[in-house]
Each structure stands twice: as C-alpha cells, then as structure tokens.
Symmetry: D2
Subunit: 311 residues, 4 copies
C-alpha cells in the first residue's frame, strides 16, 4: 500500500460525534463509504478537520479503530499523531500501527514554540521511533511554528519520511517545497487548503488534503484529475465551485472555527452523521443551521454540474 507514492485526494476525515464523549460510529462508517464512493485516494484520520486536539486520548483510539476497521485496506489510511507530549504521541502511533493504519502524520508540538534547531532534533528523535512511514505536516496557524524550508529539507531526508502536507497557505513556501521535490522525487507533497489544491497540482504537487472533500469528495477528485492532466480550463471551472463553498458555506458564523462547524453541520443535514463538536466549540444550532441548509440547497446545481462534467 505504501510502496508507491501517495497521490490524489486524501480527505482529513471529520470526527462524527453524538456528544462530546460519544463517537457516532454509524455516522463515521457512512462518512467513509461516502468518501470512497466519491473516489478518494486515501483518508486521513485525526487531522485538524478531525478535531484531533480536542478529542480525549481514549476517543482518538476509538476513531483509529473504527476508521481502520471500516476502510479494510481499500485505500491508504493516514493517522495524525501530532501532540504536545512525545510520550502520548508515540503511544497513539503504536496503537495506529496495531490497528492496521498505513502511515502517520506528524506536525510540531504546539504549546511551547520550538526553534528550528529544536524542531529538527525533535523530528530526528521521533521519526526513528515511529512504527510506520511518516508525513510531516506544516500548519503554523495552529502550531505557531513553521517548518522552515531548510528544516523541511533535512527532515525529508530522514528514512521513513514519505511525504509532506503543507497547510500554511504560503504559496511561495510551497513553491520552495516543489523545488525540493525536483531534487529528490521520493516523497509526496500534499496541499492543505482546498482553495489551493488545483494550482498546487498544476504546478507539480501530488494531491490535496481537502476538508471540503468530506462533503463533496467527487468535486475534489475531479479537480485533482483535471489538474493532474493539465486541463487548465476545467481546473478554473471547478475552482469557481470550490471558491463558492468558501464564500458561502464556510462563512456561516464569523469565527475561525466556522469551517469545521459548517462542514459537520452540512454533513448532518445530508444525513451522513451527527455533528456534535468535541469542544471547545459548540455545533451550529437554530439560525446558523438553517443558514447552512439554505446554502446547501443553493449549492446543489453547481455541484451537480461539477461532478457530471466530462471527467
């Protein structure tokens, strides 16, 4: 499964919850089938969109168990093990390996700010202890610490590191990562923000970890495939649909947390799962939920067009 380079759309799976302390197992299974029927190339459990940091250690293990069980090897399963505690990070990594996950995703510890020297030491110490191949993950908006390009270069040379996910939104930095790849083509470069997946793949990236693909997997698979074959016109057409999601659905509510809240709310409205949040956020109710419902109604036509194109 991990012998070849990961390519394509790898949604960061949302964590369906009945309540803060109860996983919606049935909902998680439905979501996974929804993703697979949309053609995704892998799934990423316990990512930022999966609210990993807000889940208890016990709940994280539950998520891993059920994702691995439901996927049954049909696509690559990545599991996020980012943590402020190296001990708990390793514990989760071992659990993921035991459950049959294929790879791990590791970002920087996010309470204390590490210097770049300390960050490289951290990767050098952690990676050899990990039982599965590792994707590095850059998301400075949440972790405060950016994996600077010289640190990335050296960390990507560690045996067992097989990829890099960049959610910085800093495209100049991403272009530098692409240039690193030209030097050594042995790892997979994945774009985080879904608004940038089209151009990232056009410019040479291997794929995207798109939160919105939880809701509309086929849209992002089509976008990826259009970009991968260099079909600029189709990329631009689908990009408008993607931007429309950002400017309508995700703008419900007015905080940074709107993205995950909207996504879970929309998936609940589509009957896929329940949408309780793990905290510290609360799910959309009342007016906000109605607004998401309205946006979903209006989006449909565009998305049907997107997915019934010549792909």
């Amino acid at each position: 499964m991990q012998t070849s380079l990961l390519k394509g759309i790898v949604p960061p799976v949302i964590t369906p919850l009945k309540s803060r302390d109860e996983l919606d197992v049935g909902g998680l299974e439905k979501v996974i089938e929804h993703l697979l029927s949309g053609g995704v190339h892998g799934v990423f459990a316990l990512g930022t969109t999966g609210e990993f940091a807000s889940l208890s250690e016990e709940m994280k293990r539950d998520v891993v168990t059920h994702v691995c069980r439901e996927i049954k090897g049909r696509v690559t399963v990545l599991v996020g093990i980012t943590h402020t505690s190296p001990a708990d990070s390793l514990k989760l990594a071992r659990y993921a390996a035991d459950q049959g996950a294929h790879a791990l995703v590791l970002s920087t510890p996010y309470y204390f700010a590490l210097s770049q020297v300390e960050l490289l030491e951290y990767f050098e110490k952690m990676v050899p202890q990990l039982p599965l191949p590792v994707y590095l993950y850059n998301i400075p908006a949440c972790t405060k610490v950016s994996i600077e390009i010289d640190t990335a270069r050296r960390a990507l040379e560690l045996p067992n590191v097989v990829g890099f996910k960049d959610s910085s939104g800093n495209m100049g930095y991403f272009q530098q990562l692409l240039q690193l790849q030209n030097e050594s083509n042995a790892w997979s470069l994945l774009m985080g923000p879904e608004e940038l997946v089209g151009e990232a793949v056009l410019m040479g990236a291997q794929g995207g970890v798109c939160g919105g693909a939880n809701l509309f997997p086929r849209l992002f698979v089509n976008l990826y495939e259009a970009a991968e074959r260099g079909d600029v016109a189709e990329v631009k057409r689908l990009q408008q649909v993607v931007m429309n999601l950002a400017s309508t659905l995700y703008r419900t509510g007015s905080y940074g947390s709107s993205f995950v809240k909207s996504l879970k709310c929309a998936m609940s409205l589509l009957g896929l799962c329940e949408d309780a949040m793990a905290g510290p956020f609360e799910k959309f109710d009342g007016e906000h939920r109605q607004r998401v419902a309205k946006v979903l109604d209006e989006l449909d036509i565009n998305l049907i067009r997107a997915t019934s194109g010549p792909v």
Copy 2:
C-alpha cells in the same frame, strides 16, 4: 484553605524527571521541601514551567498525586488543567480534587484559536463543571489567544473563579486587570513573569507565580514582602538580583526553552532533583551544563545578600 484570598509567591513547580517517562519522585519531594523552607505561599503543579503540555496524561496524574501527598495541606496547591481537550481537562480536574488539591488553573485551549465570544462560552461551560475553585490563566505566547479585558471581566464574575494569573508581560493589560480588581476585590491577581512581580505587587497585585522561585524561593518571597509593604528601595535592590538571573542563568542556550532547561539544570546541580526534560526539548548537557554551573557560582554572593536582608 481557599476561604481567604491567595497572596504571595506561588511557584510553578518544575517536574523533576529521571527520564521522559519516569518521574523523579524523590527529587519532587526535595524540591517541595526546598520551596516550603523558602517561605512560599502556595505551589502550582502542572504549570508552563512544569512542562504540563509535554507530559503524558498518566504522568500528569502522577505529579498531582505526589505534590498533594508531599504538601499535606501546609500551603495551597493549585493544579493546572489547561488542555486542548475539554474531556481530558475535566478528567484531570476530578483527579486533582480527589487527591486533595485546593484549586485549579485554566488557560485557553491552545491548538484551535478561539474568538473572544467562543472563549467566554468555553469558560462559562467549563467552570461550573469543575470541582474546585478556578484561577484563569493568560499566556498568549503559548496559547496564541489572549483573554481580552472584556472577556476577563465577565469570566471573573463566574461563581467559582477566584483568581487570575497573567503571563502576557503586557503591563498595560495588567493595569486594566488591577482596575477590574478595584471594582470587585473578591479575587486574586497574580503576575507571571518574575521580572515584573516587584512592580506588580507595588501597584496592587496579590503576588506572583515565579518560575525562578523553584531555585531561589526566599529571593522572591523577600521581593514580594518588600513590595507588599511599599519598600521601594528594597524592591529595586532585589529587582537587580532578579534581572541578573534573567541576563545570566536563563540566557544559557539561545532559544525560548532556555528558561526551563536552565532552571532544571541548576536545580540538578544543587542536588535537588534530576533534570530530564519531558520533550520535545532535551536537557542541557556538556558545555551548557558547565555554563549553568559557572553562573550559579557567580550568583551566590548576590543571592546571599538578597536573602540576608532585613526581611
């Protein structure tokens, strides 16, 4: 114990470790006796200086157990329960209450950035579930989120909130907190950065949570008492000793983590405990350890003078 307002020096106790996964129980006991013999007015377990975020959930419980057992009610025990997962935060809070801690310290979740509205909702939801009185804790350099003054005002009105610790280093903000206190004198305002404890208490604050008090508890107790009685000359004299620590001891190494590394290294050199780090950082070895030893030697005279004053 919590019936009256907490005042004085409440060190954020370091977490002595034999290795990343093993608590130095004997060291922790010695450290606590060292603090008590220095006259501290309380202890704060699992603070930032205690590397709370880097410890496994299991290790955190171990620390709570042993701190409470060793203190035996001689001074107030505060336990930090700040976490990105509300579920694990609550779990630890209950454990601390069971072990006999007196109060909890709660900062903002530190992975997702909360808006001020969401932050207030978080406090409003969490505080009533907590089994002990609560100190709010502002440390935006680590959490990314500042408890803005209007949020602080409303959160401080919640029943069960008995204090506020500010580690922002933003003295204009701290002055606003002092003004809030003038309106309602029912809670305790504590300064985080040890360089600012003197002036904070001069201006009306109740005390300080000084990391350096792990090493030199009497120095900070003297500083607090001088400030509390308005002895400006003595405050200025002791302040120079405190600043000297910052410009010598804590500047060993060159990163943000130097503070905790230096502190643990110095305490190990003094025979108080072992100084393994919980990660992601590594303890000082070789050259850095020698430098700390040298600084300690040179500091002694000043500190003896400080502690043999008329206090």
Copy 3:
C-alpha cells in the same frame, strides 16, 4: 539645557490643525502655554501623538518653527525626525537645529523591516550626522521593528545618544533597559505608554512621554513626582485616574486611532485648539464628539482631586 540628564514629563505635543493642510498656530501656542503652566519638563514635537508621519514635510517644518518660537528656551525641546527616508530625516534634523531645538528623537525606518544588524548600522551611520543630541525611540507597534536589547546596548554607547524612549509596553524589556542604565548612568530612560509611567519611575526610569499630558499636564507631573520620591500610595491613587482616562476617554470610537482622535477632540472642547486630523484619519464629529464631551464632564471631579493633592 542638555548638559544635565532630562527628567520628568515630556509630552508628545499634539499638532493642532485647522485643516489637513493648515496648522492652527494660535492653538499650538495655547497648547504649549497650557503644558508649561502644568509644569512639564520638556516638550516633544513631531512624535507619534503629534501625527508626524501623516504631516507633509512642509507642515513638519512649520510645527518645528512654531514650537521653538513659543517655547523660547523655557524647557527642553525634542523634535522627532523618524522617517523612512534618511535624506529627509537629516534635512528635518538640520532644520530643527537651526530653529533652536535641543535634541532629536529617532526611531527605526518603518516601511522596510530592518534586521538588528542593519538597524545598528543605521544608527551608527545616522547619529554622527545629526546636529543635536539624540534620543532613540522604540515603538514596534508602529515601526514593525523592535530595538532588541543588544542593539539598544550598543546604540546607547554612540556619542551623542543621550536617551531612550520605549513605547513597546513590554515591561520585561523595559526592565532590561533599566539594567543597562545601572551599568552606565549617562542617559535618560523615558516611558512611552502613560499607563506605565508611574511604575517605570518607581523602578528607576527618569520620566515619561505621556500623550495624555497634552490634556492634563499637572496630573502626569504629579504622578511623576510622587513616583520619583517613592510615594507608592499617591502613585496608586493617581494611577487610578490615569487608568480611568484610558477606559473612558480613549475608548471613544473603536479603533487604534481613538487615542489621538479623543485627545484632540477633548482639547478642542476645552477651547485649546482646533482638532482637524492630518489624515489618514478623520476627526471625531457628531455622536463621538458628544461622547467625549460627556466623558470630560464626568472626569473633572477626579482630576481636580488629583491636582489638588499634597504635591
């Protein structure tokens, strides 16, 4: 005039304007007499509160001319020459010297971000070309660039540098500046934010550059004198009046610019001068002006008490 160390309250004089392009000369004269009758120890023309960056080069020279003419050597006149263009900065410096100013105030260029090495080079190159003694000025919120402590140490050793004004609000940094002073007592350390002048002088600083002293010079002179003689109780009493200004007057409107807008509006209401802004901001009108008037009314009693104290 500059043979001894500058001490006390040195207000950053507002720039009274009839319109964006016309100086209110009569207003400026009245403001200066108001300041002198309040006992200030110097004046600082073309500071941040004086909207220096928003004035045309021609208007800046006008301000210098009229301030120097009105002061007639009664107190020290400092002139701000901070600029992004070294050539225009020098031109203004020479003009100020010709008009009889006593010293210059120089911060970092504020468009391009300088590294600390470049910043030190900039000071080393500029200072020797300047015709008057120089105060360095740290205001990173406006300039983006902080004068880090090691840069400050070396720049303060340049011949002709006679002082340092810190508007960072970072009190840990200010304590480091105080420690630099202990090493070499040949320069004057002034606090920017008026909320911190009391404690800064208590801890050893020489004075403050308080914007609010435009409006209530006696209040800040009293605060300075109380702090200078170590009268902690009086400092705390006056500090409450100062904080009250910040939480009422300066909170009119809701942006960072509220401070200067409120100050000018209040001084216009008191009949001291006109309050047009130099741009890009607009002066308070209508509802906001009425709110300032109301706040002024309510402040009076407190401020009379403040100024009729035992000073």
Copy 4:
C-alpha cells in the same frame, strides 16, 4: 493607453543611484531600454523594489520625470504614490500626472495601523482627488495592514480604480480576488511575488509586477505568455528558473533586504546602472558582490535556455 485593461509583465523599476542623494539618470535610461527590449507591458516607478519609501520627496519627483521622459508613451507608466502623509501623496500624484504618467498605485498608509473601516474611508476620500486611474496595492508585510477582501470589494467599485496588485503571498486571498473579478471583469489583477506569477496567470490573473523582471525581463514575459495560453509544461519549466533565482541570487546576504540589494548589485555587474541604495540599507560590497557575480555566471545557461524556448 489606459482605455483597455492592463495585462502582462509590469516591472517595479529599481531606482539606480550614484549615491543616496544622486539619481543615476543614465543608468535609469539604460534600465528602461533593457526592460522594453525584454518585451515588458508596462513599468511601475516608485514601487517597493524602487525603494520609494527610502527616497526623499525631491528624488521621487526626479524618478518620475526621467521615467516618463524615457518611456515616451511606448508602454503604460504606473507611479507609486503610497505615503503616510495624504498631503504629500496627493502632491506626488499631481506631479506624476503632469509628467505624463498613465496611472497611480496606492497602498495603505504604513505608520499608523488603520482599521478596515478607516482604510475604506481613506480610499473613498483619496481616490476621487487623484488625477489618474488608480491601482490598489496590498503589501501587508511592509504596511502592516491587509486590504481585507470585503474592503477590496468595495474599494474596487470606486470610479477610477482600474486594478489591484497583491503582494501578500497569500494565495487563498488571491483566489478570493479572482472570484471578485468573475463578478465584474472591469479591472486588472496583478500578482506581486514573482514566484507566484505563473500560477496566478494560469488561474486567471492579468499579469505580474515582478521585481526580477528588472534583471531578466524576457524570462518573465515568456512565463506570462506561457501561462496566458495555458501551456502548463512551459510554465513549470520556467518556474524552475524563477525559483532558482530565489534560492541563489536573492539569498545573498541574510536579511529581508537581500532581494533589492542583490537585484541592484546584479544589474550593476551587468553594466546597466550603479547600485547605491537609498538607505537605510547599504549596497553589497566585497564578498557579497563577488557572490552575486558568481551566481550570475552560473545562472546564464539556464536563462539562455529559458529565453530561447519555443515562445
């Protein structure tokens, strides 16, 4: 000239100087001929790469005079009028109109931080006073203030606003600007950072304001044209050359200012002009100049390939 939409490569012309206070007029003329022979579609005088903020007001007028005189209407001339002083900004705008410039470029004032409401008011007040069509310019790394998308939307509706240059490097934001354009195609969207011009034009932007085009105009014209016709393979080939510039030439020295210093140094080495800096920076000398010379030698082959391609 301005009746149709500006498209293509519009270099932000460097300001060749013999010394801080003397324009290298002959050098400026040579640079302009070099740009025109490279096929550029316009020139932008007094941009960030032109060190506008570091030039005296007099020098700025000199630059405008000579650029307009040399261009003689062959391509569109844009003149930057960004300033912290609205009065001096307008003065320069009128001068540019008198000299025959075609359009103005206006960013946010960069000393005081404006709120978005104040920023929109600023544009609403300034734009109608300007004698030429206006391009808005977003460069928060220098100005501290981002033109947020809702502010951009409304400012772009002002009569006389004909375009928008984004140098934020934030590609998610740029995608939102592209979406604004889909709503109203009457203005030109230009990318600032040269590393992002290829993908920006692929995704629908009209062109780029590439600093590196001062040195290699044909390279960027070819990149623009490849992107404009959707030739993804050629864009990727040229992108590698562009990235190579960033990772070799611009990395000489180690500060943010390396870009302009390297560029001017390289152009001086090619015999185009002298490379004095306007300050606060110093030009490259000695070792750094030799390093640039070496990089230039090694670049040649790649750049010859780039410009002799099938374009």
